[in-house]
């Protein structure tokens, strides 16, 4: 809300700079978002008097005006149609900075001397547009007659405008009077309220207004005023409206806007002669009922919308916008002035449905005080009488079925200390509450001292004792609160094991050279379709997840259609990341520990599963002094995963040969723990890579692992093993197995058979050749053996070799090569 400071100071005469006002109100909950300083750049512009106006010798439409501003007297050439001798005008000397009136964009220009049709012009009489006051450029700005000639224009017309953010609870401060009340309470200064007309003298005419929907309209004040004369409003009013950001229209409309700005109560003026039977019916619209609003849009209404109608048809959408049919025109002489109070939810609903948020609706939907309706009607009437001296109030109706009463709230005296942690002296607390017009009284409350406040009906934000505490705290000032630390019991320690687990995984992978990324968790069907190398349909397997047979978790209002549903797999996001990063980096090695969102059915929250996705692609050591360049492949990723599994104690986790629609058919693995598939890993299918805009010859190793399953099934407790004091023995085993037997199975047999002596089992060679027979391969392992309590002897080694031999034969049909 824009608050012109001169206007504010008329209401509450504080001796404070605009900056101080902004700062005090900000601290108390009314945040100032900025201060606009109208006239700050009006250098060399003065209040001038037009001494005489002569015809330009060579141009019919130009005049030569002689203008005096104190010591200065100059002749200017102007085409302004409204200039006359005796006027006070804004006189700009050469060198003044003005808004270029002919530029589309806001642009400043410096005033220079120039010859117009042979006559030199030494300055300018400015229009409102040139001064940056409004878009008005038809004629020059005429100042009030009592404007002090020679004074800098800034002193006369300059204005500071503070823009406040009004939070939803602050409807009482959504007006000049409301902000004046706030400032008055903070600065201990009384508010000077504007003049109101006494309407009780007018004839009470209840039949003027019929409220047929009392649940949506709490009060309707209708005032009939005759003999009004529609014309532009006076410059002081126009100036205030402009400063507050409202465009002046005519005196009647301007008055309704002025009172809305002043008191926060939106008003509407109808031309009464346009109202059928000259009366108002407040009712629900019928379904499909139509009307044209002031913005010339034809609106279709439903029975959820409240309308202001005459005897026949709607003439306004209640609380939102008036209709064109009863608009005030230059010929209007009889008004029906509306000052009403509506159900906030209804106004909010209609404004949202009609996509029509107006100054009026934004006030009504915060819940206006029905008692304000009469105040505003009286204020508007006073202004109409002031601007149209012949106007007379002839009829009035005040339909107010259930008048709103003041509430009282009792706050135990101890509540301030209990909530704030500090207390304030009684007279300070009472003083603050008095300044807020809360009429505090000392009372007894359950045998304890308390303070009772009577809450004015315009304060709909004070209902509980905590609200009263806030009033005390914000007026005294939060800055006076000391800093303390909580005392008392600490909560029992509970460390979330899942968070610790995720942290360990992040640490392990980043230590292994991977960059952690965080990606958007939303995608669309098309993105999932890219995971299919054989078509556009999404494949049966989406990363680790099976394609569900119920709908995905979908957003109703996604920001972009490609962010429509919550991801069931992280693969697409990570692949997008790899594709993008490969453009700028030789090697991409990234992971994310995010979530996938598996649907549980409509109206159910999804299963948000913490998931790891990791990928490697590109070239190691692309230009290295010490090492040769090497393309990353599946084993770089599987090695990092093996290291990860070791570090988190996931001993039971193994990779098995697998197949996956998105993966290279020969380079895909299942990650298995306790016979459950907990993840997938592999090299991306070249066609899928291409679909994600990665070169099909670029190997991309990628894995997706369900972290709760990994934690639950894979992880074993850490078991310390004392280091043997004896010299370890290294034994090599060359094992011949069928080509189809996975090395992992052989490794596992070897590990088990050499327990508890083996400390490391390392595969170092794979050999194929005639000597071991066709269809076979020989796997060479180096096993490091040591016993905790003795040096191993030849007979120990023999025993181990025998055991290895036996188990290899039984479990993988393998044989030791001698």
């Amino acid at each position: 809300m824009k608050v012109p400071v001169r206007w504010l100071k008329d209401l509450v005469p504080v001796e404070m700079s605009s900056e101080e006002i902004a700062q005090r109100l900000t601290m108390a909950g009314l945040e100032a978002e900025g201060i606009e300083k109208i006239g700050i750049d009006w250098d060399k512009i003065y209040v001038g008097t037009v001494l005489k106006v002569d015809q330009h010798p060579d141009a019919d439409r130009l005049v030569l005006a002689t203008i005096r501003a104190g010591e200065i007297e100059q002749t200017v050439v102007t085409g302004a149609p409204n200039i006359e001798a005796g006027q006070k005008v804004a006189f700009a000397q050469l060198g003044a900075r003005l808004v270029d009136p002919y530029s589309e964009e806001p642009k400043m220009m410096t005033l220079k001397a120039n010859k117009i049709r042979g006559v030199r012009s030494e300055g300018m009489a400015c229009s409102e547009k040139e001064l940056g006051l409004s878009d008005e450029h038809e004629g020059i700005l005429i100042l009030d007659e009592d404007a002090p000639e020679g004074a800098p224009l800034r002193d006369h017309l300059g204005e500071d405008v503070i823009e406040f953010e009004i939070t939803p609870n602050l409807v009482h401060a959504f007006s000049m009077v409301g902000i004046a009340r706030e400032l008055g309470a903070l600065a201990a200064t009384s508010v000077t309220f504007p003049d109101l007309t006494d309407l009780s003298v007018a004839e009470d005419t209840p039949q003027l207004v019929d409220i047929q929907a009392p649940d949506l309209c709490y009060r309707y004040v209708g005032v009939v005023i005759e003999n009004v004369h529609v014309e532009p409003s006076p410059s002081w009013m126009q100036r205030r409206l402009n400063a507050a950001g409202v465009r002046p229209i005519n005196n009647i409309v301007d008055i309704t806007n002025y009172v809305m700005l002043e008191w926060g109560q939106p008003l509407h003026a109808f031309d009464r002669t346009d109202l059928a039977e000259g009366r108002i019916v407040v009712r629900r619209a019928t379904d499909g009922e139509q009307m044209e609003t002031l913005d010339h849009v034809h609106r279709k209404l439903t029975s959820d919308d409240l309308v202001i109608a005459d005897a026949e048809r709607p003439v306004a959408i209640a609380g939102v916008m008036g209709g064109v049919d009863s608009e005030i025109s230059d010929d209007t002489t009889t008004l029906l002035l509306e000052s009403a109070s509506f159900n906030m939810l209804s106004i909010r609903h209609t404004a949202r449905e009609q996509k029509l948020r107006t100054e009026a609706s934004s006030r009504f939907e915060r819940g206006l005080d029905p008692n304000l309706a009469m105040t505003a009607a009286r204020r508007a009437t006073a202004l109409i009488k002031q601007l149209c001296p012949n106007a007379t109030v002839t009829e009035i109706a005040d339909q107010y079925p259930a008048p709103r009463e003041q509430k009282t709230v009792v706050m135990p005296r101890s509540e301030i200390k209990r909530l704030l942690g500090v207390d304030f002296p009684d007279d300070q607390v009472i003083g603050v509450l008095q300044r807020l017009e809360l009429s505090p009284k000392h009372v007894e409350n359950d045998g304890q001292p308390g303070i009772q406040v009577s809450v004015p009906t315009y304060r709909n934000d004070i209902n509980l004792k905590a609200d009263v505490v806030e009033e005390v705290a914000r007026v005294i000032g939060y800055e006076s609160l000391p800093e303390t630390l909580p005392v008392g019991q600490t909560a029992p320690v509970m460390i979330d094991p899942v968070l610790e687990f995720v942290r360990g995984i992040q640490d392990s992978l980043s230590a292994a050279g991977m960059n952690e990324v965080i990606t958007y968790p939303m995608l669309d069907d098309a993105e999932l379709g890219l995971l299919n190398p054989d078509g556009d349909e999404m494949p049966a397997q989406l990363g680790l997840a099976r394609r569900p047979d119920i709908p995905f978790v979908k957003a109703m209002n996604p920001l972009r259609s490609e962010w429509r549903q919550m991801r069931p797999t992280m693969l697409p996001a990570i692949l997008r990341n790899v594709a993008e990063n490969l453009k700028y980096n030789p090697l991409v090695s990234v992971f994310e520990t995010g979530r996938v969102y598996l649907p549980e059915g409509i109206d159910q929250l999804p299963d948000e599963r913490r998931t790891l996705c990791a990928a490697i692609a590109g070239t190691f050591n692309p230009a290295d002094l010490h090492e040769h360049a090497r393309e990353a492949d599946f084993f770089d990723l599987s090695g990092i995963l093996a290291q990860l599994f070791e570090e988190i104690g996931a001993k039971n986790v193994e990779l098995r040969q697998g197949s996956h629609p998105s993966m290279h058919p020969g380079r895909a693995a299942e990650i298995v723990a306790d016979n459950t598939v907990i993840g997938i890993a592999g090299e991306l299918h070249p066609i899928v890579a291409e679909q994600f805009e990665i070169d099909r010859n670029q190997r991309v190793a990628i894995a997706e692992i369900d972290l709760p399953l990994l934690m639950e099934l894979g992880v074993e407790k850490f078991a310390y093993r004392p280091v043997s004091r004896y010299q370890p023995v290294q034994q090599d085993f060359a094992i011949v197995v069928d080509e189809a037997t996975p090395a992992g199975s052989v490794q596992r047999v070897l590990e088990n058979a050499t327990q508890p002596m083996s400390t490391s089992v390392q595969l170092f060679d794979v050999y194929r050749g005639e000597s071991i027979g066709e269809g076979n391969k020989s796997l060479a392992f180096r096993v490091t053996l040591a016993a905790p309590d003795r040096a191993l002897q030849d007979k120990d080694i023999d025993k181990i070799r025998k055991r290895v031999e036996k188990q290899l034969k039984q479990q993988v049909k393998g044989a030791l090569r001698s």
């Binding site: 008392g488 992978l509 960059n515 965080i518 978790v553 957003a555 990063n581 002094l625």
Partner: protein, 347 residues
């Protein structure tokens, strides 16, 4: 015979003079002092001597052996020293050549900041918990004192999830975990909740539709607003430096009363006003306040017995302020050139 020994000695010493490598050294030792060496062979000749000459000859051979051994040791020292010297000379490197670096990995700056913040609050007794991102409107709004159709509900530009009966949203803040936590445990409560949040908000340099928050909640008998101020000041100084000044001002959030806006003095202009702080000298860090009595009532805590406070802050904003990052979009574009900068071991 002694003549032979003199000749042998001369021969040995002459040849020792020529030794310049470890190999030649070994050969010399083998030839003269080894088991088949000439000195040993000479000793064997003792048996051919008359008995009376044997002791003298034996002594002479032993003396020769000792003398040659000494000469050998000296030569060996020289040769080894020389060969080490030449190795050291030949192995000189340019130490400014690049070393063999391990491949650096990094944690995401948001992860780092979550860890930093939860660590600070952890030291003040706060547990870290997480909650669902796809959330019931009940937890996201209603139980937080933001009823259906309340204008305050508009403040959160919410992304809604398709559903039939139940209103489900992508949580626009981490505050639903206030309710979930209090539903699960009895006071004392002290938790911080990091997590992803979502808003229906167009993307620009300072706005993301997908972002992270950290929620904080403390509830007990005797939890006060001065405690909130002290705790937040402690947090801000830990993250942004001990010299930071803090500002507490009144603000409105439906689930707290009294409500607070918490700011620190601008670290870019030291409070004198600049573009980052919109000329105010203050940078708003977070919203906070005393837990609203209605919220306590919703979870079955007696607001006359218990009091508490809560706060919520955007993590990206904290990271941006701390490191001077100019555009929030960097966080989720995933550019490794951005991410890999966050490799400092110390914050």
């Amino acid at each position: 015979m002694s003549q032979d020994l003199d000749q042998l000695k001369q021969e040995a010493l002459d040849r020792l003079q020529t030794v310049s490598s470890e190999d030649e050294l070994g050969a010399w030792h083998r030839d003269f002092l080894g088991r088949q060496g000439k000195v040993t062979t000479a000793m064997r000749g003792i048996s051919e001597l008359p008995a009376e000459e044997r002791p003298g000859f034996g002594q002479a051979v032993n003396a020769l052996r000792n003398e040659l051994q000494q000469a050998f040791d000296q030569t060996q020292d020289k040769v080894l020293a020389a060969s080490l010297q030449s190795r050291l000379e030949s192995e000189q490197v340019d130490v400014t050549l690049p070393g063999r670096k391990p491949i650096p990995g990094t944690l995401h700056p948001v992860t780092r900041m979550i860890r930093e913040i939860t660590r600070v609050f952890g030291l003040m007794g706060f547990q870290t918990v997480e909650g669902p991102e796809v959330e019931d409107a009940y937890y996201a709004f209603d139980a937080l004192n933001i009823p259906q159709d309340h204008p305050a509900r508009d403040v959160w530009d919410t992304i809604f999830i398709e559903s039939d009966q139940r209103e489900i949203v992508l949580r626009p803040h981490t505050s639903p975990m206030q309710i979930r936590t209090m539903e699960q445990i009895e006071p004392p409560v002290r938790v911080v909740v990091p997590g992803r949040c979502y808003r229906y908000e167009a993307l620009d340099a300072t706005h993301e539709w997908h972002f992270h928050q950290i929620e904080g909640l403390a509830v007990d008998t005797n939890i006060t607003m001065t405690d909130l101020k002290g705790t937040l000041a402690e947090f801000a100084r830990q993250i942004f430096g001990q010299e930071r000044k803090v500002r507490f001002r009144c603000d409105y959030f439906p689930f707290v009363e009294p409500g607070v806006d918490f700011a620190i003095d601008c670290m870019f202009c030291e409070g004198s006003g600049c573009r980052v702080c919109s000329g105010t000298g203050w940078i708003e860090l977070l919203g906070a306040g005393m837990v609203h009595p209605n919220v306590l009532r919703y979870v079955g805590y007696d607001p006359d017995v218990y009091s508490g406070w809560a706060f919520g802050m955007g993590i990206e904003r904290i990271v941006m302020l701390k490191y001077g990052i100019e555009d929030i979009r960097h966080f989720y574009q995933g550019d490794v050139r951005f991410l890999s900068q966050f490799n400092r071991v110390l914050a």
